[in-house]
Amino acid sequence: MNNSYEYDASFLGLLSLIKYLLKGKIKPYNIIKDDYQVDLFTNIIKVKVTKDEKVMDFFVSRFGSQTMHYVYYVFLSSYPNKEIVIYYYLLNYLKYGPKVIYKRDLKCVRKVLELNKKVGNEAHKLKGFVRFRELKSGILYAEINPDNDILELLAKHFMNRLKNEYWVIKDVRRKIICIYDTKKIYVTEEDNLKIIDEVSKNEIMFKDMWQDFYHTIAIKMRKNDRCRLNFMPKKYWPYIVEMEDER
């Protein structure tokens, strides 16, 4: 029988479950979120684990903060079996220690590296590609549609950068929003905030100026669409305001 273990979709929930599995020397067939669609041959096991902040301290002291950083980025990725990747990576860490990250012959290590690159790259790219528009209320509002769950990483970046502004970023794929009120960040489901998406008077003027600037700055004799697409893939275009007329 395929024994799959269920967790509550949170990072701490996953860590708590993995701690339970590692302690009991249990090898799961898979680790799944509570809304995961499973086939008939899968036996779902629900374990009551105590989930609290202390589990994070346990993992950091046992595996080191670098490892937990790797693991967290895997968790933010959209890879369907990321949980079992994390489990096997940590299991191998227990066997090999910190040098496990260099063992690229292990599939879980390759996956951890690959997903870290993906998540890190997308977060970095979006730090540039996010476009805010100024609403009538003065709030800056942006929508994103990233492959990975990077909203929190972005929010931390903008908290430094636009620290005296009110801003909201919405992940349209995951239907979550991040609100910043010049002091703190709040992450919540989109239904909890009604956004009146009417832009300020100045907004149209500056958007217009930016679009002009974007076209002016290109050197016609150097036109290179392939190069542009490499750096700025089409999937991001719907939310990049200067690409409006090329979408």
Partner: protein, 402 residues
Amino acid sequence: MELKEKLNILADSAKYDASCSSSGSMRKGEIGSAHISGICHSFSADGRCISLLKILLTNVCIFDCKYCLNRRSNNIKRAMFTPEEICTITLNFYKRNYIEGLFLSSGIIKSPDYTMEQIIKTVELLRYKYHFGGYIHAKAIPGANMYLLKKLGSLVDRMSANVELPTEDGLKLLAPDKSSDKVSKIMQYVKNSQNKNFVPAGQSTQMIIGASRETDLDIMQKAEDMYQNYKLKRVFYSAYIPVNQDKCLPSLITPPLKRENRLYETDWLLRYYGFKVSDLLDDDNPNLNILVDPKASWALKHLDEFPKEINKASYQDLLRVPGIGVKSAKRIIKSRQYFRLEFKDLKRMGVVLKRSKYFITCNGKFDLNKEFLKKEFIEANLVLGEKANSSSNIYQLELFHE
């Protein structure tokens, strides 16, 4: 004149400056912060990154450099921003996350000192009145008073002065109002004063490629000289775009983009791979091979120094192998402390075996039959490999020019 029209004119006049990097600073302000690795915010139709609001303060200029759109003798629309106008655009673009900061350059209006004072006024407003902590790259105006340079340097993240042409002859011919002494003086000053409060992201410069008769050797020697003497962060190479007709200028149909690309590859070899210009170019071979990249070209001339054993070679030696970059060389060094490496491991580390297999062994073994280790065969394969990757017709054109 409307602000929008001014922006169009003064962005159009600024776009031939290649630099747009925004890395190397960790400044923080009430609005804005610099990011140590820099951030690209968009990419224009030519594939170049847009990171900074790249504009001129004015395109009015008392100089008459042959290659420049803004030269005195050109009949074009002229405009000038007020410092407040630049602040308005910068801050509004910045808070919408269009840009990482400002790149402010200018034509020479009235005098170098006056021009520099206007640039300083603008940057002072941004930093002191609006507490802007985003990235600012400003041009230093050659010939301006040193105390102005000191003032500007304490406000910006990066400062640059363009040498434009690598030799004095080139300058005399195409930019008679400019002198390389004045640019060197700026570079010397910035080098001596640089610290975390003065031009923290360092200085850069630019050379125009293909407007004058200089060889790649001239260009790279000048670059190497500047990297060594003035500790420049970057030298930019900008393929000459024919914006003016002039009997002193070559009549080009396409800008020499492939040549520019080869020069950048060489620049990387100097900065990150431990190469010297004399390894790659000399009086008998003063120009880079357009067909094959400079590292492969070097390796083909030094086949006797290969193969390198992956499990033993030093970091510096690994960097000399075509198909091994800085990242993969570091990974090899790190990984082999723990495990003996084989070819399948190299592939997983990002080593390009297609290029490197002629130059390396793993545990004494090649990844190919030794009869393929002939120079002609390797050369043909390295050239063909590049051809497959290159989609631009410019490449084809230049093939016939050679």
